[in-house]
């Protein structure tokens, strides 16, 4: 089991990531930066920050992870009325190694929790989690059950919460747009 604590701040804001990257690369080169180099590198930093931010937020690929009732609304989100593909959340991938976002839809039992953790660890960074529906937020109607985990944020770091039982697919579009804003650095986390 992976026992690292998840440091969201490092991976969420692409600006900080780019600055970390450039700092590391400069220190590895071992040269003292002079003035022209500094302005050039600043310009390069800004352009690449913008490109990276734009590309990451506009092509979010969700992992198909519908467990129960909210999965039906997830399928509705991907189908003809609310078309997920036109905004870039392409057809849901079958494997976590190719996806960016995990939309946790449905209640999580104690038997299923290790599998979810394993899937999350198989995703490549930067990775995001959307908790879709009441059961993933807080345990939902099954709050008192003996086999349910009260919310997916007990085991995973969640970025966007969507309330509803089940939420309408339009709510999921709005949640994805909020996530896009967050990736682009618009909303302070």
């Amino acid at each position: 089991m992976d026992t690292r604590t998840y440091d969201r701040r490092k991976t969420l804001n692409s600006e900080k990531e780019m600055s970390l990257l450039s700092e590391n690369s400069l220190s590895m080169q071992g040269t003292k930066p002079n003035a022209i180099f500094a302005t050039l590198s600043d310009a390069a930093k800004m352009i690449s920050k913008g490109v990276v931010r734009w590309s990451r937020k506009n092509s979010l690929w969700p992992l198909q992870f519908g467990l129960s009732c909210c999965a039906i609304e997830l399928m509705d989100f991907g189908s003809a009325r609310i078309d997920a593909e036109r905004k870039g959340y392409l057809f849901f991938r079958g494997t976590p190694r190719q996806s960016d976002v995990m939309v946790v839809a449905g209640w999580i039992t104690k038997s299923m929790a290790p599998e979810i953790k394993r899937l999350y660890e198989q995703m490549l960074e930067p990775r995001y989690v959307i908790a879709f529906g009441e059961c993933a937020l807080c345990g939902g109607p099954w709050w008192e059950s003996y086999n349910i985990i009260k919310g997916v944020d007990q085991i995973l770091p969640v970025d966007v919460y969507v309330a509803g039982c089940p939420p309408k697919p339009e709510n999921l579009v709005s949640a994805f747009m909020k996530l896009q804003k967050k990736i682009g650095g618009g909303v302070e986390d």
Binding site: K110, S111, P114, E144, Y146, N147
Partner: protein, 123 residues
Amino acid sequence: MKIERVDLAARLNEMRKQGYTYLVGITAVDYVNHLEIIYFVRDLAKNTEDSINVDLDPSDAWVPTITPHFKSADWYEREVGEMFGIEIRGRRTDRLLLEKWNGKAAPLRKNFNWNEPYETMID
């Protein structure tokens, strides 16, 4: 109809030969003094149905298996056995129906303790 545990397998076999070939389900109820396990069988040709009740003592809760007579009783028996702590004697497999449980607690009994540290076996 209510019968005793000793007559259970023989009675169900007899009913199956009379035409009650379809097993609808097996369930159980926990009245605190005794457990009651109920078998529902149906005759598809004549469109009649019957239920067979067996009373059990909670401290001596076992029934013989009826899978030699009704093939579909497998999963129902496992579910009732796990949920109520009833031992089904004569079964082939020991694997629990529900994934990753260790079989210590019987949830549907009335004396199930909600606050017990509920262990699950993780493989």
